[in-house]
């Protein structure tokens, strides 16, 4: 059964049950991915996946059910399950759907030729040969990879909404393992875009350097000291604590920023932006409920301008949606999420930040963010890796230490922000990115 046939079967079933308000959300993900080990392809996988989420208003609540089984029986069961789930719900949310006929900003995603399976295989093998021969420290257990994917989202509902968006991307990955006879170290670099234009040698060199840099690392001393977070490290912190900017979390009493809109929550040098049309992103013109998306400042010069809203949380707060209705997967309830969230860049280079720090640590790896950081309290204590900063310069590598502090306190203790903002690394519709930042008041635990 095609999606169109399935959709018609679901709508017929809903009408028969007297259901007037409903929505179908369809997601499809096609991908090919390839990995190489030594000088051969080790894994090749290809898949077409996708599912349909149906939600409908019954008894004053919006019930959800989802399936990958696009069959006539599947259609009937889907409507029945969604209706049953609706009558179990008890929250004070009222069912809301976006009406058709909205105006959407048109931003064309970057288009480039996508490789076919044979092209992927060829590229990965070339890349692997290049990496294995690039540096004597690179061990033969290093791996390369590549993928090409297409994501399609379609939403239609009983209010005349009928939307569809596809984003495509291709990416190359270098995963070198290096050794010095004493120990091994590894790193990962990825670059999305047109394979013909990606400088593979540069991707490889960057990954190999990163892996080599952490060989032979020591452990820093324990104490409070200035910390410079690399763009990668700061982006992952931002991603971990981003749920604090969700109105849904705030309304449920699970965000420290509840009731703080309009107030100062960060230093005057902090501006935090959410931009659905950030260069290289999926460029989603609509969110997961079909509301138009737009760029906005969440924090502007330290002041919390707005939390992020979907239809439901906006209605509760007496506001308009910010177009941040989002599902964690096609089967999930609509929640709230940023598109591309980033810390606005400053003027200085990273080298100038290091000079300003004087003595401290530079952190370019944070581990265990799912466990060592509490998005509700803001507390974090995280495994870290990087370099010592001595006399304003990167010095010896360090690892196996932790950095601890509180995210909300830290927003007021950012001494400086660099200018080195890059597109987020992941290819999905949600991403986080940041320039390097210099922070005071954090504690490092080493030896």
């Amino acid at each position: 059964m095609t999606f169109e046939e399935f959709k018609n079967a679901v709508i017929a079933e809903a009408r028969q049950r007297g259901i007037e308000d409903y929505e179908l959300y369809y997601a499809q993900y096609d991908a090919i991915s390839v990995e190489a080990f030594r000088h051969e392809i080790s894994e090749f996988s290809t898949g077409i996946e996708g599912g349909v989420c149906f939600r409908c208003a019954v008894g004053g609540h919006m019930g959800y059910a989802s399936t990958e089984e696009l069959s006539p029986d599947g259609a009937a069961a889907l409507v029945r399950r969604a209706a049953e789930n609706a009558v179990t719900l008890e929250s004070d949310e009222t069912p809301l759907l976006v009406a058709g006929g909205q105006t959407y900003e048109a931003h064309k995603p970057e288009e480039y030729p996508l490789p076919d399976a044979a092209g992927l295989v060829r590229t990965v093998l070339e890349m692997q040969d290049m990496m294995l021969g690039s540096d004597p420290a690179v061990l033969d257990n290093s791996q390369s990879g590549a993928y090409v994917s297409a994501n399609t989202v379609a939403i239609c509902n009983s209010r005349g909404l009928d939307l569809k968006h596809t984003s495509r991307s291709a990416a190359l990955m270098a995963m070198p393992i290096v050794g010095d006879g004493q120990e091994m170290s590894n790193a990962y670099e990825m670059k999305r875009g047109d394979f013909a234009k990606i400088d593979r040698a540069e991707v490889i060199a960057k990954a190999v350097k990163k892996a080599k840099d952490s060989l032979g690392g020591g452990v820093p001393a324990t104490g409070a000291m200035p910390v410079v977070f690399s763009p990668e490290a700061m982006s992952s912190l931002l991603g971990t604590f981003s749920q604090a900017f969700s109105s849904e979390m705030a309304q449920k009493g699970l965000s420290a920023l509840r009731g703080k809109e309009g107030q100062t929550v960060a230093g005057a040098n902090v501006t935090l932006v959410d931009d659905p049309f950030f260069e290289g992103s999926a460029m989603m013109p609509f969110d997961d409920e079909g509301s138009p998306t737009h760029k906005k400042n969440v924090i502007e010069n330290g002041r919390l301008v707005t939390l992020l809203y979907n239809l439901q949380t906006a209605a509760k707060a007496g506001k308009a949606t910010t177009g941040n209705g989002a599902k964690a997967g096609y089967a999930s309830k609509v929640g709230v999420r940023p598109f591309v969230m980033y810390l606005a860049p400053g003027e200085k280079t990273e080298e100038e930040l290091l000079k300003e720090a004087g003595n401290g640590v530079y952190i370019n790896m944070l581990g265990g963010l799912h466990a060592g950081a509490n998005p509700i309290s803001g507390d974090f204590s995280l495994q870290s890796g990087g370099f010592l900063i001595e006399d304003g310069k990167k010095a010896a590598p360090v690892k196996s230490f932790t950095v601890a502090g509180n995210f909300f306190t830290m927003l007021n203790a950012i001494r400086d922000i660099a200018s080195n903002l890059e597109p987020p690394r992941g290819g999905g519709s949600t991403g986080f990115t940041s320039p390097s930042v210099l922070v005071d008041g954090l504690t490092v635990a080493g030896k």
Partner: protein, 460 residues
């Protein structure tokens, strides 16, 4: 489900270009969860996952294709995609499937997938109310009732034609407490490879709610954990996450086969202290991480990974086993058909030792007692790991003193397992979801109370 005859046709097509192994994995899964926020049912997630994946090997190369279309035409098309991707060769293997009767060592009495929402909501409400009523400092309670009915079929040119139904039930409660302007959280989330009978005497929903609230209240009144290197006593149950991260992942063939593990080439060698015997056992009846067969159709088994400090075996799947020249240990697992399976853990624990709990605490002059652990992660190449301490206490002069928050432990796996110098007698397990390249799968971690003589404690 798919007939044996159709499986044979599909495998024949998949192997038609020279594969030396072909496998079909099909699944139909119902994932259901009910979420409660502040005592009210807030969301229900109800999803049918249905599809198939076909995989072939030729030597050390693996090719997989997945599809949501499990009709005969859909499966044959998928098989052709795999055959085409492998290349141009001739069929080399004969295919004879024989149906395996798999002993069900994890019987389920009352499948949650056929139970009305109302019964699950009642359990959730009992847990949520108990958490809310525990203390006036409790500000918010969220809870989740999750159940999974995962039906799999595996057919392979090794002759396997096997099916399994894997039912899991879990109750997860999280509480937020506030004291003097400080907000902290607590959680408790027991689960079993069982149905609704899990709540007939084994798990008391109200006790789950109270435990989440207790932890939140204790931590809301706690100061920050100091930073430094010190001895740490780690409690049983989810404390076993230390072995899971520090050692377990590095013993998976997915790292070892690629010479990308700190424990490569160490079979038969002493890698841990004498006190450490570690086991990965997928056969524990109705345990969270248990299986009847792995995702390549190999019957589940118990593996002694480390015996008195000596490395005995790795955890191996068929594909990575080829590279290592070793047999599968029934360790192949995948979240769903859309992931390429690889070697993973099941129920992994440090076996009970002989030290008394009171002696372990009394041996610490100044250190940390980690009563409840959070999650963690590891880089198997370097062995550098981390995990969070959700509820910790300072130990002074052999006595447990004030609670501390915000601690994490970091180290290098191969060094830390040599520093486990005391192992208690009362082994217990805790439930987790383990994320890796083949997706998120249920695993148990476990241990008795142990002492690590010295480890870096991240605090401030």
């Amino acid at each position: 489900m798919i007939s044996k005859a159709l499986c044979e046709r599909v495998l024949k097509r998949a192997a038609s270009t020279g594969a030396d192994y072909a496998e079909l994995f099909a699944e139909n899964t119902l994932n259901h969860s009910i979420e409660m926020v502040g005592g009210k049912v807030d969301a229900i997630n109800d999803n049918v996952i249905a599809g198939a994946a076909i995989r072939v090997y030729k030597g050390l190369r693996s090719v997989m294709a997945s599809t949501v279309d499990t009709s005969e035409e859909g499966l044959m098309r998928c098989a052709q995609r795999v055959a085409d991707a492998l290349g141009e060769g001739k069929a080399e293997i004969a295919i004879h499937l024989s149906e395996q009767v798999i002993a069900n060592i994890h019987p389920v009495l009352d499948a949650p997938s056929s139970v009305a929402n109302r019964r699950k909501v009642d359990i959730l409400r009992a847990a949520s109310n108990a958490a809310k009523e525990y203390d006036e400092a409790v500000r918010q309670v969220t809870g989740r009732f999750l159940d999974v009915d995962h039906n799999i079929l595996i057919a392979s040119t090794d002759g396997v034609y096997a099916q399994d139904r894997q039912i899991r039930t879990r109750l997860a409660v999280s509480a937020v407490a506030e004291m003097n302007g400080q907000t902290q959280t607590g959680s408790c989330s027991p689960g079993r490879r069982m149905g609704m009978e899990m709540f007939d005497g084994l798990i008391d929903p109200a006790a789950v709610g109270r435990e989440a609230a207790r932890q939140a209240v204790v931590m809301a009144g706690a100061g920050y954990c100091p930073a430094g290197v010190m001895p740490v006593a780690i409690e049983n149950g989810f404390g076993g996450v230390i072995f899971h991260e520090a050692c377990g992942h590095s013993l998976e063939a997915s790292s070892v086969a690629y010479n990308a593990s700190q424990f490569c080439g160490k079979l038969g060698q002493k890698i841990a202290s004498d006190k450490v015997t570690a086991i990965d056992d997928g056969t524990i009846p109705n345990a969270w991480g248990s299986i009847n067969i792995d995702d390549e159709g190999t019957p589940s088994r118990r593996r002694v990974l480390i015996e008195k400090g000596v490395l005995k075996t790795y955890m191996i799947d068929k594909f990575n086993g080829r590279r290592m020249g070793m047999e599968s240990t029934a360790s192949s697992r995948r979240e769903s058909y859309s992931y390429t399976p690889t070697s993973r853990m099941t129920n992994t624990y440090i076996a009970a030792g002989e030290d008394r709990n009171e002696d372990i605490i009394a041996s610490i002059e100044y250190g940390l007692y980690a009563k409840k652990m959070g999650g963690g992660s590891v880089n198997p190449v370097t062995g550098e790991f981390n995990f969070a301490v959700d509820e910790g206490y300072i130990v002074r002069n052999g006595r447990i003193c004030e609670p501390v928050r915000g601690a994490s432990l970091v180290g290098k796996g191969s060094e830390i397992i040599q520093k486990i110098d005391m192992v208690g007698t009362d082994m217990d397990m805790g439930q987790g979801m383990c994320g890796s390249s083949s997706g998120s799968i249920p695993t148990n971690v476990g241990q008795p109370l142990i002492r690590v003589s010295s480890i870096t404690v991240g605090g401030r």
